[in-house]
């Protein structure tokens, strides 16, 4: 008996496998080639026409017309079908959240994004769109006024919390008060320093909140990504309140139950601000930390959505029957940096030799299987602040050698160049355990040997890595930064941000760029701020304290029946528009 059953099953599987193989592969190619290309193209167009991205924000549909599902950037033919209400989606998630309070969680991946909504949100094209607010405040639309800087948020009418209580501007004020309370132990990724720069929050009526800042603060749109309910939390210790596990929230979903180590269940929030949404009755999130287990559960249908799909498994998974793959290049970049405390690395010729000696294209194609776009700039093309015209250093071994030769670095023993007894030999560090990055590191080591530079690989576990790096104990480091939609790269390169005061852990002291950053941080007019940030990127590309290597895609795999999923390039999370997801019958 068992053998019969086994035979039948495997025969079935084989049929499905052969029949659906071609279609899924096509899907995959459309994704890899299409999606990221499209997103990048959009940004290039808006950069060329000089459109301020904030102007694009109000295009998001007001609540009344939201009954028509928005066309996702990742359009597939199948989305032409009518959305259906109902069904529970089970997700295999790679990590268990530590807290479902957006201001105490330390995790980057925001599982809480389907539960909470803020005043505004970053969409799939990395533009700000209003969520609970009527509009994204800017200088142009009068939402921002200067001297002193005041930002006015007008809330949408009739907002409610998931317990049915009204949501008012008092909750905005309470959120700010809760965060700046000195006893509050802040979490991670909604940590923006902006809250400390607010002097007061006025609430002239239940729908209006006016933030008055102590000085000009350009990154004000990065704040208030979630709200805290005053009627639930007032007078409580927010650090330890049960709210952090089962919050009263304002997003499309609300938490029903969270069983540690196993799963959390979310159900439709009946008080959600958009009528008729979400389409899904609920979400179940299983915590499956092992990648292979996630993939197996997707294959058996025990889960219908998995995140953090490794690139080298994409093609295999795309062939599973009834499974679709989606990928999006996110706001994160891999880079190689120089330690300016090492006098040899202060020589621009040496850094230029690296820039010309590393063949990013061949690494992207061969090691990273063509799934990763090459980076020339620390600001990703998704950002309005991305400068497409910075100096690009083409791969050219001959020119790299010549540059070193001209600077007096002559071939020495073992093929390593030297000058006055100083050899071009450096410690190169990264996190241990990231196999892909370690392979990239080895290829770079081989490529630099061609130029006459020796790299000694020395890697640290993740939690030691930053300690070593911030102490300046390295010559060359390879890792990645993840950024919110705000172009916050001043932290990495301004002279006054060296550890322990910031993350300029290349210890680069450049007066020119520091002045530009200082102005940009306080420039509220986005067009002027963009000019300043463009200039900063020019300086970086010229002076090369860092060599950007690649931008990084995130990949998910879902049942092909799940429609309307739009991923998010920032820490606003892939569930930012979960209200629009629906399951085809």
């Amino acid at each position: 008996m068992p053998t019969d059953r086994a035979f039948e099953t495997s025969l079935e599987r084989a049929k499905e496998f052969l029949g659906l193989r071609r279609m899924n592969r096509r899907d995959l190619i459309r994704f890899v080639g299409g999606t990221s290309g499209l997103a990048v193209l959009n940004v290039y167009i808006s950069a060329c026409t000089g459109q301020p991205p904030a102007a694009a924000a109000p295009t998001s549909a007001p609540p009344t017309s939201a009954a028509v599902p928005p066309t996702p950037a990742v359009a597939t033919q199948a989305t032409a079908g009518q959305p259906v209400t109902g069904g529970v989606l089970t997700i295999g998630y790679d990590a268990e959240p530590d807290s479902l309070n957006a201001y105490t969680t330390r995790l980057f991946a925001s599982t809480e994004s389907g539960i909470h909504e803020g005043l505004i949100v970053t969409n799939d094209k990395m533009e700000y769109v209003p969520n609970h607010a009527e509009a994204v405040p800017t200088l142009e639309n009068g939402g921002v006024q200067l001297n002193p800087m005041r930002v006015t948020y007008e809330l949408r009418p009739d907002l409610k919390w998931s317990d049915g209580q009204p949501l008012t501007s008092e909750d905005v004020k309470f959120t700010w008060q809760a965060i700046v309370n000195p006893n509050f132990k802040r979490g991670g990724f909604n940590f923006g320093e902006g809250y400390d720069l607010i002097e007061k929050v006025d609430t002239p009526d239940p729908r209006t909140a006016i933030l008055t800042f102590k000085g000009n603060y350009a990154a004000y749109n990065g704040m208030f990504r979630a709200l805290l309910p005053k009627h639930v939390l007032d007078g409580k210790d927010i650090n330890t309140d049960p709210f952090n596990r089962v919050p009263v929230s304002n997003g499309p979903m609300r938490v029903k139950e969270w069983i540690s180590g196993q799963y959390s269940q979310m159900e439709r929030n009946p008080f959600y601000r958009v009528a008729g949404r979400p389409y899904l009755d609920g979400l179940t999130m299983k915590f499956l930390t092992a990648t292979n287990t996630r993939i197996n559960q997707l294959q058996t249908g025990e889960v219908q959505y998995i995140n953090q799909v490794p690139w080298d498994r994409m093609e295999e998974i795309a062939q599973f029957p009834g499974v679709a793959i989606q990928s999006l290049v996110v706001n994160s970049w891999e880079h190689l940096d120089f330690n300016f405390r090492n006098p040899t690395l202060q020589d621009l010729a040496v850094r230029q030799a690296f820039a010309m000696g590393i063949d990013k294209k061949s690494i992207a194609e061969k090691v990273l299987q063509g799934k990763v776009p090459v980076a020339d700039n620390v600001v990703t093309p998704l950002s309005w602040a991305h400068n497409p015209n910075v100096t690009k250093w083409e791969y050219n071994v001959e020119k790299a050698r010549q540059t070193l030769e001209n600077a007096g670095w002559k071939a020495g023993s073992g093929g390593v160049r030297e000058k006055g007894g100083q050899r071009l030999s450096f410690d190169c560090v990264t996190y241990a355990g990231d196999a892909l990055r370690e392979r990239v590191q080895q290829v770079i080591q081989a490529q630099m040997r061609e130029v006459g530079i020796e790299l000694r690989i020395q890697n640290y576990p993740p939690n030691t890595f930053f300690e070593q790096v911030n102490d300046g104990k390295f010559d060359i480091k390879i890792h990645r930064w993840i950024s919110s939609a705000e172009p916050g790269f001043a932290s990495f390169f301004a002279s006054d941000r060296m550890p322990p005061r910031g993350l300029n852990n290349v210890f680069w002291d450049n007066a020119e760029i520091s002045k530009v950053f200082d102005e940009a941080d306080r420039e509220v007019d986005q067009n002027k701020r963009k000019e300043l940030l463009f200039r900063a990127q020019d300086i970086l590309a010229r002076e090369l304290p860092t060599i950007p290597l690649f931008y990084r895609p995130n990949v998910i795999a879902t049942t092909a029946k799940l429609k309307n999923v739009r991923m998010n390039p920032t820490n606003d999370g892939d569930m930012w528009a979960v209200a629009d997801w629906y399951l085809e019958r």
């Binding site: 132990k185 991670g188 952090n244």
Partner: protein, 316 residues
């Protein structure tokens, strides 16, 4: 015996305190610390990190931190998790049922296999059965758990579809049958290693005993073979075996990292690894204290079992 047990049980207390001091010291030697996660974040200023350090008491000298921890721990307050901000006692103890279920099932399964297989293997040394048992034991000992687990998952869940691939219950079900179905694969994988080890110990111990003079005497006085084996050989052979098993079984509360990860089992092992990676001192201390207490307790149990098995052993 009663007085002896009381004395031993009381003796565990200074032992546990000594262990806690050592473990506390070692944990604080982990480079990075619980705030290292913030160093990567461009939006957190050093002033904010410093404030957190003070709020969490991490700026105090280590002996002071230990003293505060010990005082609270004895009073039942294990502190708050640095990661989830929930009471550490909840975070740790909520993992106990799942851990005991998995480990217990694996131990029972392993015992049921190892005892008969080890005895038969010794009695019929160099027989086909013996060779089979030996080969299986080496297979079990050398099999990488994550690989074997994934293979079982692929075979029984993905290809055959007989069993769920991971998790502890089907959400919304949770009946006994459902729980048992989820338990089969992880318990099998986990029991393999223990069954293999224990089979070897039982076999070795039995081989040593059955060549002793007193076994020959027992046979010479005309006892049935059955009685010789179970009353004379096995009882003596079990003493070294119990020493080994007691140490293994102490892991009842510590969990099995790899198996739990592969099968998404909400046990102590996964919690431990997560907490190590995030350097969550309070939770780590809780787990390690539970684990240490289990080791000491099972050693005591082993000592008591010696008496039951061997009348020559007496505790005063």
């Amino acid at each position: 015996m009663g007085a002896y047990l009381t004395r031993r049980a009381l003796g565990l207390i200074p032992m546990l305190i000594a262990i806690s001091a050592i473990v506390f010291g070692i944990l604080h030697m982990i480079p990075g610390g619980p705030l290292a996660v913030y160093l990567e974040n461009p939006y957190i200023t050093p002033e904010q990190i410093e404030r957190l350090r003070q709020q969490l008491g991490l700026d105090q000298p280590l002996p002071v931190q230990y003293g505060l921890w010990l005082k609270a721990f004895v009073l039942g307050d294990w502190g708050y998790s640095f990661v989830s901000r929930r009471p550490a006692v909840d975070v740790v103890l909520e993992r106990v049922p799942a851990t005991v279920q998995l480990m217990g099932a694996a131990f029972v399964l392993a015992g049921l296999v190892a005892l008969p297989l080890g005895i038969l293997s010794a009695l019929r040394q160099y027989s086909k059965l013996d060779y089979f048992a030996t080969a299986s034991a080496f297979f079990g000992i050398s099999m990488p758990v994550f690989w074997f687990g994934l293979m079982l998952q692929l075979t029984f869940a993905v290809w055959l579809g007989w069993l769920p691939s991971a998790g502890m219950i089907e959400i919304g079900d949770g009946s006994l049958v459902d729980r048992l179905r989820h338990l089969v694969l992880p318990a099998t994988v986990l029991s393999l290693l223990y069954a293999a080890r224990w089979t070897r110990y039982v076999r070795a111990a039995m081989l040593e005993v059955i060549n002793q003079d007193y076994i020959r005497v027992a046979r010479a006085k005309g006892l049935y073979e059955r009685s010789v084996i179970s009353n004379h050989a096995l009882r003596n052979a079990l003493i070294p075996v119990i020493t080994v098993v007691a140490v293994d079984v102490a892991a009842l509360f510590s969990g099995a990292v790899v198996t739990e990860k592969v099968f998404a089992w909400p046990g102590m092992g996964q919690l431990f690894v997560d907490s190590v990676l995030k350097v969550d001192y309070t939770v780590l201390m809780g787990i390690l204290m539970v684990g240490s207490a289990a080791v000491l307790a099972f050693n005591l149990v082993a000592d008591v079992l010696y008496v039951a098995l061997d009348p020559r052993i007496r505790y005063e």
